[in-house]
């Protein structure tokens, strides 16, 4: 009890008599930190895509993620569909939903003097609507995914890999890989990159910016849904949760360089790593302070994010 509230460096307990204990603990923290970081990365990639391609800051991105998690939850509860499979069911809904949102809400705002600012206010409104819509249709109760593999883990040496986290991280990695391949290898993906590097030239060669942006937005929403499901494997969620996720998304994206998919993914991992390391070395109550403090330092040293903003 004496320790309550006082800041003291953590001592390695002598009773256990095993020096490796802390080493394992550090690595364990880093492993699970990295897995969670991968999910932040995926959430960030979609956000980054929209920001880079159309200068829209989509505050509702995390709300779409929560929506995805809820849809998957509904499928799981009502039909016993595993959330991983459930994603493929809801993917078209999210994709087309995103396209509709772009066409009727985002596109008309493109005429604003300051798209960044106007889109922020607009999507903030969207986020509130989505949050309370979920709350109305469902209820504000917190939810978690419960599948056959929740609360199970496999061990590699002394390190535990919780299945839900692992599945979430794998989903995130797969999602990021798909997005990366889409942008780098497919015709439409290349057109998307072209249109955000040189919108005018892109139009000259027949690229329809509105259609391309619509697809990009649909993809971003779909990836948010996937990220939301992955988050649902790690954290419980309620309609309000998106506020919190958004802050992490914001961090990851800016750290990784806006529009830089690879950078965003790496930044996600980095934040996971920072989190894991500080969990291992400092009192838990200081973890977030230290993570955010380190981010401030990183930003001050590298004022334009860690990675070059390229596409």
């Amino acid at each position: 009890m004496a320790r309550r509230g006082r800041f003291r460096p953590r001592r390695v307990p002598s009773r256990t008599g095993d020096r490796n204990v802390t080493g394992i603990l550090v690595l364990q923290s880093v492993i699970s930190g990295l897995m969670i970081g991968a999910i932040y990365g995926l959430l960030g990639v979609g956000f980054s895509l929209v920001w880079g391609a159309m200068k829209v800051i989509n505050i509702a991105h995390a709300a779409f993620a929560v929506l995805g998690a809820y849809l998957a939850y509904f499928l799981l509860k009502a039909f016993g569909v595993d959330p991983v499979l459930g994603f493929f069911v809801i993917l078209p809904f999210l994709f087309f939903g995103g396209m509709v949102v772009y066409r009727f809400l985002i596109f008309p705002v493109m005429r604003a003097r300051d798209i960044v600012v106007s889109s922020m206010v607009l999507t903030f409104g969207c986020a509130i609507v989505i949050e309370n819509f979920i709350s109305l249709i469902g209820s504000p109760d917190p939810r978690v995914f419960t599948t056959r593999y929740t609360g199970r883990a496999f061990f590699l040496g002394p390190f535990a890999f919780q299945w839900p986290q692992t599945v979430g991280a794998l989903m995130a990695l797969a999602g990021m890989a798909v997005l990366y391949v889409f942008l780098k290898k497919t015709h439409t993906g290349k057109a998307l990159r072209a249109s955000w590097q040189q919108p005018e030239a892109a139009r000259l060669y027949g690229i329809n910016l509105r259609r391309i942006s619509m697809i990009a937005f649909g993809l971003a929403v779909a990836s948010a849904g996937l990220g939301g499901i992955a988050m649902g494997f790690v954290y419980s969620f309620d309609p309000h949760t998106h506020n919190l996720w958004l802050i992490y998304i914001f961090l990851v994206v800016i750290l990784g360089g806006v529009g830089n998919v690879l950078g965003t993914a790496l930044a996600g991992l980095l934040i996971g790593l920072l989190n894991g390391l500080s969990l291992a070395f400092f009192p838990y109550q200081w973890v977030n302070v230290i993570t955010f403090g380190m981010l401030i330092l990183i930003l001050l040293v590298r004022p334009a994010g860690l990675f070059r903003s390229e596409v």
């Binding site: 969207c126 509130i128 309370n132 961090l251 302070v289």
Partner: protein
């Protein structure tokens, strides 16, 4: 300004000053106290966020710093609560000092990076205060209750907040038309060009940032007494920071009128919606309001009054 408008405005201000003494339900006094506080916050924010284009997402933290400074001063020196009127000034000064420390390095960052660093700053402040027991830690701080009747106390603080609001508005208005303001706007347009035009950009930005932290600090001092119990989750809440930005942008962030319109209209609309609709419906409509506003007036409410058509760029 047309003369009849001028007199109308004068009447409104005079009416506001008289309000607490016409024995209205105290709720109105309290509600307007909070609304005025938001006007102060959004108005100060415009100095750096609107004029200079540096979107600060951590401005709520200065409110918290002010609130905690006052609470600590009052509790430590056992001052009579009426001294809060004096102690609010150190609160503003404390916020300004923190702004100087944070702003010096942070203002080297541009665009989203500045937004992020201020967001992180607000976050760290909330968590750090929660973790430090000498600041009350997770328990928060209680302020000694006023020895006077509630209505009277609310009335006094209302008047002070009203004065603070007027001062803030006048200062921001003055800045807008000054050389200083022109420098800020030049920075927003193009910082490199501003530099070549002999604007000492680092100094101008920092001064604006410090000034924009001072008023929220003072407001925080008053706010602490309004609540009489403060907690990091209440006064350092990141939602306040975001609400400030939205209020300013909702009204239109590039002039001193925007935040007044934004803060007042958003607060009152929210209040009205909650009064007449079921909770979630009220929130849904509140959200739709932002969507519809931006669809029809992409540049904020004041663009409607100015009749300015957007899309020139």
């Amino acid at each position: 300004m047309k003369p009849y408008l001028k007199s109308l405005l004068f009447l409104a201000v005079a009416g506001a000053f008289a309000l607490p003494w016409l024995s209205p339900p105290v709720y109105f006094v309290s509600l307007l106290f909070v609304v005025f506080m938001y006007v102060v916050l959004a108005e100060s924010w415009v100095l750096i966020g609107g004029f200079a284009g540096y979107l600060s997402f951590g401005h709520g933290a200065f409110l918290g710093i002010g609130a905690y400074t006052t609470a600590l001063l009052m509790n430590h020196f056992h001052l009579s609560p009426l001294y809060v009127l004096v102690s609010a000034l150190p609160a503003g000064a404390a916020a300004a000092c923190v702004a100087a420390v944070i702003g010096y390095p942070a203002l080297r960052l541009r665009g989203p990076y500045f937004a992020l660093i201020t967001l992180c700053f607000a976050f760290v402040m909330e968590l750090a205060v929660k973790n430090l027991d000498f600041l009350g830690g997770p328990e928060g701080l209680w302020l000694k209750a006023m020895g006077i009747e509630v209505g009277l106390a609310r009335g006094i603080f209302f008047e002070v907040m009203l004065v603070l609001m007027l001062v803030t508005v006048l200062v921001v208005r003055r800045v807008e038309s000054s050389r200083f303001g022109a420098g800020l706007k030049a920075i927003k347009e193009d910082e490199e060009v501003a530099q070549t035009l002999c604007v000492d950009t680092p100094r101008v930005k920092l001064s604006a940032f410090i000034l924009s932290a001072f008023f929220p600090g003072v407001a925080g001092g008053l706010y602490a007494y309004y609540l009489s119990y403060i907690h990091p989750e209440t006064v350092f809440n990141i939602d306040i920071s975001i609400l400030i930005v939205l209020m300013a942008l909702f009204g239109g962030g590039s002039s001193y009128v925007g935040p007044i319109v934004g803060a007042i209209s958003l607060s009152l609309v929210n209040e009205l919606l909650s009064a007449f609709l079921k909770a979630e419906y009220a929130r849904v409509i509140y959200g739709l309001l932002f969507v519809v506003l931006i669809l029809y007036l992409p540049d904020g409410v004041i663009s409607f009054f100015r009749g300015r058509k957007s899309g020139a760029g």
